[in-house]
Amino acid sequence: MSETAHDIFALVQGCIRRQPASQKELVRRYAATLLSVARRYARNPSDADDILQDCFVLAFKKIESYDPARGSLIGWLRKIAVNCALAHYRNYRFNYERAAEILPENVDISSDVLSKLAFEDIMALVNTLPDGAREVFNMAVFDDFSHDEIAAALGIPAGTSRSLLSRGRRLLQEKILKLQSNELARI
């Protein structure tokens, strides 16, 4: 079903009026996408389910504050999902130490190799990144957060966010290369 602005407007209006049918339609329409977002941040599938629930409960509560002029509904929901995921692990104290990392300009991975990898495999690799680097990598690469926004959300300096992103990149590259060499060895 194509999503016209009118459809979304009607859906949002229904949710504002707390109509269960509209709320259920919102869940039906966006749950799969948001679960995908939640799983990128969650440490296990059970946590991802909890984050998804939190996300919808909060979205229904805050639906009045959705401003269509500022972005799409799915974009707004994705931001809520990310923030719910961060809130879910807020009690964990990540080691956000600032480590200056200098990365080479280019990645030693060809686009062919990357395109052959299934997204699930990539996500499995991303999920093996250490805490902190994983959140920053997810937020910066997949969810379009700026470093300032990441810094505000995680309560860390923007410089730390940059260095964590660099570390995430480097580690991910190493893991992909390792995977690639294993595949070649198997052949």
């Binding site: 009118h6 869940v27 039906r28 749950a31 805050k62 002029a69 300009e105 990645v107 505000a152």
Partner: protein
């Protein structure tokens, strides 16, 4: 491949990726969570009601100890009053007692009339207990049969530890100023006791348990809640102006950029009632309406970045169309922020005031909370960047909010019943107007002054 390409390719693969999910099961779990939130709210409401009920109960209960814990002076006043009262005949005189050792033979159980009088005076908290009792009159027409023959040379102070003949042959003036402390234990049995009216003796006798609460029963909060003899409730109306703005704890994308901050006006009006809960403590509750002036000037950052802007226009009939504002055409415009065009609120403030009387003027610093609803509505921009008031159906939200209040009420007594109220105050909202995860985190604060009239409605 450079990092940007690498990440874009990753992002491309992530876009549109969906993880299969059982939406029915998810929906049922979400509904359960929603119900749980409602139940939590219900319990919160019940707890708040219980707290208020408890406070009222303490206040109501503390009135009783305040009456019972009458000071010695008050007991003396009761004594004097009752001696002079017509029913003082309830003090029976043992006329068969030897003249040389006259005593007042007070019965263990007093007459119903006297007991009733005691009970009434203890429980009704009448003005007579609170210091406005009838003037003390020393009985001049003391019956002659109460007078003994033994005549001491001079008036002696009464000493409870060494029982004295109550009444000597020479009439002794009953000098209240020389009365002994009533806390002194009474002599055992029905032996001679100092000059104590029946009910005072009752207070000291085992039979008095019926009437007197021990000190330990008196609430430690009694002084706080003890209602003065002359208290009632007051109603008032007030109106005024305030200035308001928002805090910016965070938010690079704040709706109100710092550069454009300025104080904004708001007007308010309301009615309230207040009740004195103690000598100093006053509780006030009311209803207040506020209307905020909320037109802002700011620079639209996305337009400054030369990005074309897409604006969805939602018509009241449900029709939606889109306006594209070309890049660079708008640099700085007066724009009405949608959610803040018209902000009005209905709030229920509850304040606790501390009364400091100073002549005709009474100063009452207060702390309080306010809860209520704010409605926010606004207008969308048309293609010229001007607000179009015909299209704002979708931009409407109602928000429950909590806030803290403080200020100083100054009441100036015009006459017995009417007071003029001048009240500088400030408040801060505990909740952001913009959603939990909105980068623009905004809490309203206000400072204003109210002027009104307070009228005393009843005396208890």
């Amino acid at each position: 491949m450079n990092w940007q390409e690498f990440e874009e390719q990753l992002k491309k693969q992530a876009e549109g990726h969906e993880t299969p999910v059982d939406t029915e099961a998810l929906w049922s779990r979400v509904q359960t969570r929603k119900r749980r939130r409602f139940v939590l709210f219900f319990w919160w409401l019940l707890g708040a009601a219980g707290l208020m009920g408890g406070a009222y109960w303490i206040a109501a209960r503390s009135q009783q100890p305040s009456a019972v814990s009458t000071s010695q002076e008050e007991i003396q006043q009761i004594a004097r009053t009752n001696v002079n009262a017509p029913d003082s005949s309830s003090v029976s005189i043992n006329e068969t007692a030897p003249v040389s050792n006259p005593t007042l033979n007070v019965p263990k159980t007093t007459s119903p009339k006297t007991a009733g009088a005691i009970r009434t005076s203890q429980h009704k908290n009448t003005p007579s207990l609170a210091g406005t009792s009838p003037k003390t009159v020393i009985p001049k027409d003391l019956p002659s049969h109460l007078i003994t023959d033994a005549a001491p040379s001079s008036p002696q102070p009464l000493n409870p530890s060494t029982p004295q003949p109550l009444i000597s042959s020479t009439p002794q003036p009953l000098n209240p100023s020389t009365s002994q402390p009533f806390s002194t234990p009474p002599p055992p049995g029905n032996e001679a006791i100092p000059l104590l009216p029946t009910y005072i003796r009752l207070l000291q006798s085992p039979a008095a348990d019926e009437f007197v609460l021990p000190e330990s029963f008196i609430s430690p909060y009694a002084p706080l809640f003890a209602v003065p003899a002359k208290s009632g409730y007051q109603v008032g109306i007030q109106s005024g102006i305030s200035y308001w703005n928002v805090f910016h704890p965070s938010g690079p994308d704040a709706v109100f950029p710092r550069a454009n901050e300025r104080l904004l006006e708001a007007v308010h009006a309301g009615a309230f009632f207040q009740k004195q809960m103690g000598r100093r403590l006053i509780i006030r509750a009311g209803l207040q309406y506020q209307r905020y002036n909320a037109v802002f000037r700011w620079q639209e950052s996305s337009i400054l970045a030369n990005q074309p802007r897409q604006v969805h226009n939602y018509h009241s009939d449900g029709h939606v169309d889109t306006t594209y504002i070309p890049s660079g055409t708008l640099v700085e415009k007066t724009r009405t922020v949608r959610q803040y065009n018209y902000v009005s609120s209905w709030m229920l403030p509850v304040d606790f005031k501390w009364r400091i009387p100073a002549g005709r003027t009474t100063l009452m610093p207060f702390l309080g909370v306010q809860a209520g609803f704010q409605s926010q509505s606004g207008a969308l921009l048309n293609a010229n960047g001007q607000p179009d008031f015909s299209r704002y159906k979708s931009i409407y939200k109602t928000l429950f909010n909590l806030g803290l209040r403080t200020g100083i009420s100054t009441e100036w007594r015009i006459n017995e019943r009417n007071h003029l109220l001048i009240e500088p105050w400030g408040s801060v909202d505990l909740r952001s107007r913009t959603g939990r995860f909105n980068p623009a985190y905004e809490q309203f604060w206000q400072a204003g002054v109210s002027v009104g009239v307070v009228r005393m409605m009843s005396y208890e």
